[in-house]
Amino acid sequence: MIHAKYKTGLVFFPAFDWAISPTHPEREERLLYTQDQVFEEGLFDIEGIEEYKPDLVTVKDVQRVHFCVPDVWNVMTESHFISAGGAKTIGMAVLDRQVEKGFALVRPPGHHAMRVVHGARGFCNVNIEAIMIEFLREAYNIDRVAIVDTDCHHGDGTQDIYWHDPDTLFISIHQDGRTLYPGSGFPNELGGPNALGTTLNIPLPPNTSEDGFLYVIKNVVMPILEDFKPDIIINSAGQDNHFSDPITNMNFSAQGYAALTEMLKPDIAVLEGGYSIEGALPYVNLGIILAMAGIDYSKVKEPAYDPGSIRQTHSVTRMIEKTGEIVLSLWRQRERKKNKILKSKDFDERRRNIFYDTDGIHESQREKIRLCKNCSGAYKIDSTSDLGYHILAVHIPRKGCRECKELGYRWYDSTNEDNFDIAFLQDRTEDKYLEHDFRK
C-alpha cells in the first residue's frame, strides 16, 4: 500500500470536447495521454490522493479579477468557467484543510490573461490562478500570496493583474523574452510604483536544463519567499520547459519538474502550458503529483530521457547565475526604490499596446494610478480595441484607503456616453462590481 505523505487533492479536467481549433496545441487531445498515464498508475487509488469534481466559477468570481469587454459571456466559454472552477475547487479544498496540497490539472490555461480582457492571448482568456486567489482572499483569511510561474512563457497576464499589488509576490521563470512569446519578462519589470519589487522576472537562456532551473529555485526564489512570508504559495505549473516541447527551446525534464516541486513546496499548483503531449506531459504531471504528495518519484522518467545529452553548457550556467544575482539585488533594493518614486509624484501613467495573438485583436491602453502611502492605490484604465470598444475600467484595491476609494468612484461616475461605450468599476473593498453600458 502506498500512502501520500502529504494529503493531496487533484482536479483533473482534460476538457475532452473543447479546443481553440482542431489543430491548435490547445486541443482535445492535450491531456489524453496524461489521463492514460495517471489512470494506469492508479494514482486515484492511493491513500491520501483525492480527486475532486470542479465547480464552475461564478460571473462575480471573474469580475473580481477581470474587466471583460463587452461582458463575461463574450470572452468565456463553458470550458473557461470549469477550468477556473477547477482551480477554485482545489483552492477551497486546501484552505478548508481537506487536503494539504492541491493540483488543478485543468485546461484551458490562463496566465497570459490580463486585467482587461478583449479576447484570447497566448491560448488564455481568463486568468484562472488570479480568479482562484481573489476568491480565496474573499472567502478565507489569507492576505499575502506568492505566485511562482514556472511556465516556459513569461506569465505576462498574471504580472499585469498583480502589477500594482504589494501583497502578491509574482515571480516568473521563463525562457528569455528575446527568444520566445510573449517577448516580455525582463528583470527590470518590477511592478508599479505602489508595489515595486513584488513582481520579479527571471529570464533563462534557451537550453537551460535541470541544473539551471533548480539553481534558480534554490538560490533565488526560495530566499525571496522566505523574506516575503506568504500565507500560501501558488505554482503556475506550465510544463513547456520540457526538452521535447514543440514550441519552446528548453531542456527541462520530468525528474527536474518533480525536484522543483519538492523544493518549492507549493500549496497549490495550477497547470498552465505544455504541449509535448505524449513525450512530456504524462511523465511531468505524474512527477509533479508524486512530488506534491511526498511519494517516491525516482522512477518517473520519460523514455527519451538522457540527462547527459541535455545538460546545459557552462555559458548557460554563468548567464543564469548572473541573472540570479541581478534579481536578488533588485529584491533587496525594492523598498528604497519604491520610496523614492512615491515621493516624486502623485500619479503615475503608462501607455501600452497589447496584442491578442490567439484572437488577433489589438488593444491600446492608458493607465493612471494614484501613488498612495496608505494603500496600493486606485487606478483606471482607458482601453480601446480594434473590435471597436472604448471602455474605462476603474480598480479600487482590496485594502483601498478612503481617498482612493472616493477617487475611484469619481472616475467611474464621470464617464458618459460621449466618452465611453462601457464603464467598469471593481470595488475590491466591498467586493462590489459595477458596470454601465452606455450603448444601451
Partner: protein, 562 residues
C-alpha cells in the same frame, strides 16, 4: 423451471421459479466450513419431487471465493510484473513470489524496452523449484499492447498448470488493480474449479445435466466454463443477487435506492430506471482494489442484529454483531429487539427483549417502549444518512468533458426498496422519518435467490483503436487486428458489438434478447505538427444488466401474493 440459489452468511436461500411464479422456496443453514454441503442440501431440497428435465437453468451465488480472499486462504502463486516509467512496481507486491522484471510499453502501446527472455526463464525455474503451478503475468499498459504478456506466456506456457494474463481481465487502465485482480484470479482458481466441478457432478448424478451458471458482482451471470478463466468475477455476488431481486419492483423512470438489511450489515445500491448502477472501475474487497466489474454498493456496519449500547450517554448501534437478537437467544440488545418491544415482530421471546432494553432505558431515563422507538429510529436514521453520503459520492464523481459536466446525470432517488431483515418494519420507519417512499420487496426473505435466478448474462467489451499505429485492440477478448487509416468510431462500435455478441453467447446469453449498449465512445484527432496524424478511438459497450426475458409473469404473481 429455474433454480436460483444464494449463499448468505447465515442462510442459504433457494427458490424454484416457473413461468407461473414462485413454485417453491427453501432456506437451509449455511455451514461456512462446508459450503459444498450447504449448496447441495439446498439444491436437494428444492428439487425434491421435481422432474430433472423440467429444470432448464440453475444460477448459483456463493461466498466461496469471497471467503477465500477475506481469509487469505491462497495457494502459492507466481507473479511476473513489468512496469517501466512511473511508480515502482514493488509498491504493488501482491504476494511472496512476486518478481518485477525489465521490459516496458508506453501509453500509446509502443515498446520502450523489450522483454528479457533469459530473465523470465530464470524466474520460471525458481517457480518450478518452489512447486508453483499458477502464474500471473502483468505488464503496465498491456491493454494498449499485450505483446509483452504474450511473449512471457510463450516462455512459460508448457511449464505451469494455468497462467493468467493481465490484459485478459479488463480493458480498463489501472496497473496496480490489474496486478491485484490477476493475482486473485490465480489464487481462487483451484478452489473455484474444484467446488463447481463437484456441484456439477452431484447434479449430474441426479439427472440434472445442464451447465450451471454463476452470479457475478455486476448482477449478471456466466456459465461455469467461462468462469474458469475469471473466477475472481464471482466475488461479492451476494449484494448483486439482492439488487437483481429488486429490479422488477423499481420504477422505470425514477431512481430507486435498494437496502438489503442483513444481521451484521446493510448493503445499499442504486437502480436508475431499473438498471443497477455499476462501479466505474471495479470492486474492492478487503485490501484488494480490483478491476472486477461490479455494482456500486456500499456496505455499512448497521444491521438487524447490530449490538446496541450506550457510550458517554449516547446511543450506539453497530458496527459489531455479537450474536442474534435477545429474543432469539442472543447476548445483547439489538434493533430487532426494539421491534419485539414495539410488537412489530412476534416470532421470538419478547420478554427477553424487554428485559434487555430495560437496562438501556434506565440509563436514558425513558420508558422501555420509548427506548425501543429511539433505538429503531436511530438505526433507520443512521442507515439513511449513510445512503445520502453514498448518493453524494456518486454525484461527485469527476467527469472529463464539458458536456458531461453540464448535462451530467444526478442521482436523486425518491423511493426505497427494502429486503432482508424485517423489511416491512424498516420500510414503514423509513417513510415515517424521511421523504422517501419505501416498501418491502415482495418475497423479501428470498428475493436475493429470485434475483440470482432471473439475472441476465452480462459482459462488457472495451475497444481501443489507434489509426496512426494502424491497430485496433480489445485486450480482454484476445482481439488484435490491423486497421486502415480511415477506420473510425462507428467501425469501432460495430467491431465492439460483434465481439460483445460473441462473448455474451459464449457466456450463456439468449441470442434473441441481447440488450447491448454503448457506454463510452470517444474519438480524438491526433495532431502532430499541424496535421492530423491519426485518430485515437476509445469505445466501451456492454450487455445491460437486467432480468432475463419471458419471466414478467413471475413478477406479477409475486407482487400479487405478497
Amino acid at each position: 423451471m429455474i433454480i436460483g440459489l444464494d449463499v448468505g452468511g447465515t442462510h442459504t436461500d433457494v427458490v424454484l421459479l416457473g413461468t407461473e411464479g414462485l413454485i417453491k422456496e427453501v432456506k437451509v443453514t449455511t455451514d461456512p466450513s462446508n459450503l459444498f454441503n450447504s449448496v447441495l442440501s439446498g439444491l436437494e431440497k428444492i428439487t425434491e419431487g421435481i422432474e430433472p428435465e423440467n429444470i432448464h437453468r440453475i444460477v448459483l451465488s456463493t461466498t466461496l471465493t469471497t471467503n477465500a480472499i477475506v481469509q487469505k486462504k491462497f495457494p502459492e502463486v507466481g507473479m511476473i510484473v513489468s512496469g517501466g516509467p512511473g511508480l515502482d512496481p514493488e509498491l504493488f507486491r501482491s504476494n511472496r513470489h512476486y518478481y518485477p522484471v525489465s521490459g516496458s510499453i508506453d501509453h500509446r502501446g509502443r515498446e520502450i524496452e523489450p522483454v528479457d527472455s533469459k530473465e523470465i526463464k530464470k524466474i520460471a525455474k525458481r517457480f518450478k523449484k518452489e512447486k508453483i503451478r499458477l502464474v500471473g503475468v502483468v505488464c503496465k499498459f498491456s491493454v494498449r499492447n499485450p505483446d509483452h504478456e504474450l511473449k512471457i506466456y510463450e516462455i512459460l506456457k508448457d511449464s505451469f498448470e494455468k497462467i493468467f494474463l493481465g490484459h485478459r481481465i479488463s480493458g480498463n487502465l489501472n496497473f496496480p488493480r490489474r496486478i491485484a485482480t490477476t493475482f486473485l484470479n490465480a489464487a481462487v482458481y483451484p478452489i473455484h474449479k474444484e467446488f463447481y466441478e463437484a456441484v456439477q457432478k452431484s447434479l449430474e448424478k441426479k439427472g440434472l445435466v445442464l451447465p450451471i451458471r454463476i452470479l457475478k458482482a455486476d448482477g449478471g451471470n456466466m456459465n461455469f466454463n467461462s468462469s474458469i478463466d475469471f473466477p475472481g468475477q464471482t466475488i461479492l455476488s451476494g449484494p448483486a443477487a439482492s439488487v437483481m431481486g429488486s429490479v422488477a419492483f423499481s420504477s422505470e423512470d425514477e431512481d430507486t435506492l435498494i437496502m438489503d438489511i442483513g444481521g451484521t450489515t446493510t448493503d445499499m445500491s442504486i437502480l436508475i430506471n431499473r438498471v443497477p448502477l455499476l462501479d466505474p472501475i471495479g470492486i474492492s474487497l478487503g485490501s484488494y482494489k480490483t478491476l472486477i466489474r461490479s455494482l456500486d454498493t456500499l456496505s455499512i456496519g448497521v444491521g438487524g442484529d447490530s449490538a446496541v449500547k450506550i457510550k458517554n450517554g449516547k446511543l450506539q448501534v453497530g458496527p459489531q454483531r455479537l450474536g442474534p437478537a435477545l429474543a432469539f437467544g442472543g447476548p445483547v440488545p439489538t434493533p430487532t429487539d426494539a421491534l419485539f418491544v414495539l410488537k412489530e415482530m412476534n416470532n421470538g421471546d419478547r420478554e427477553k427483549s424487554v428485559n434487555g432494553l430495560r437496562e438501556l432505558a434506565k440509563e436514558l431515563r425513558l420508558s422501555v417502549e420509548d427506548t425501543a422507538s429511539m433505538i429503531f429510529e436511530f438505526t433507520c436514521r443512521k442507515i439513511l444518512s449513510e445512503a445520502e453520503k453514498m448518493i453524494n459520492r456518486i454525484n461527485a464523481k469527476p467527469v472529463y468533458t464539458v458536456h458531461e459536466l453540464q448535462e451530467g446525470y444526478k442521482v436523486t432517488p425518491k423511493k426505497i426498496l427494502v429486503l432482508g431483515g424485517p423489511a416491512p418494519c424498516f420500510a414503514r420507519y423509513f417513510e415515517k422519518i424521511s421523504d422517501y417512499k419505501a416498501r418491502a420487496v415482495p418475497k423479501w426473505t428470498v428475493a436475493n435467490a429470485i434475483g440470482a435466478a432471473l439475472a441476465r448474462t452480462t459482459c462488457e467489451v472495451i475497444f481501443f483503436a489507434d489509426t496512426q499505429r494502424k491497430i485496433a485492440i480489445a485486450p480482454a477478448e484476445n482481439f488484435l487486428i490491423n486497421i486502415k487509416e480511415n477506420f473510425d468510431s462507428s467501425d469501432a462500435v460495430k467491431n465492439a458489438f460483434d465481439l460483445l455478441r460473441q462473448k455474451a453467447l459464449q457466456r450463456g446469453s439468449d441470442s434473441d434478447h441481447l440488450e447491448m449498449e454503448v457506454l463510452e465512445n470517444m474519438q480524438f484527432n491526433m495532431v502532430r505538427g499541424f496535421y492530423t496524424a491519426g485518430k485515437n478511438i476509445r469505445v466501451k459497450v456492454q450487455v445491460k444488466p437486467g432480468l432475463i426475458n419471458g419471466y414478467d409473469d413471475i413478477i406479477v404473481n409475486l407482487t400479487r401474493r405478497s
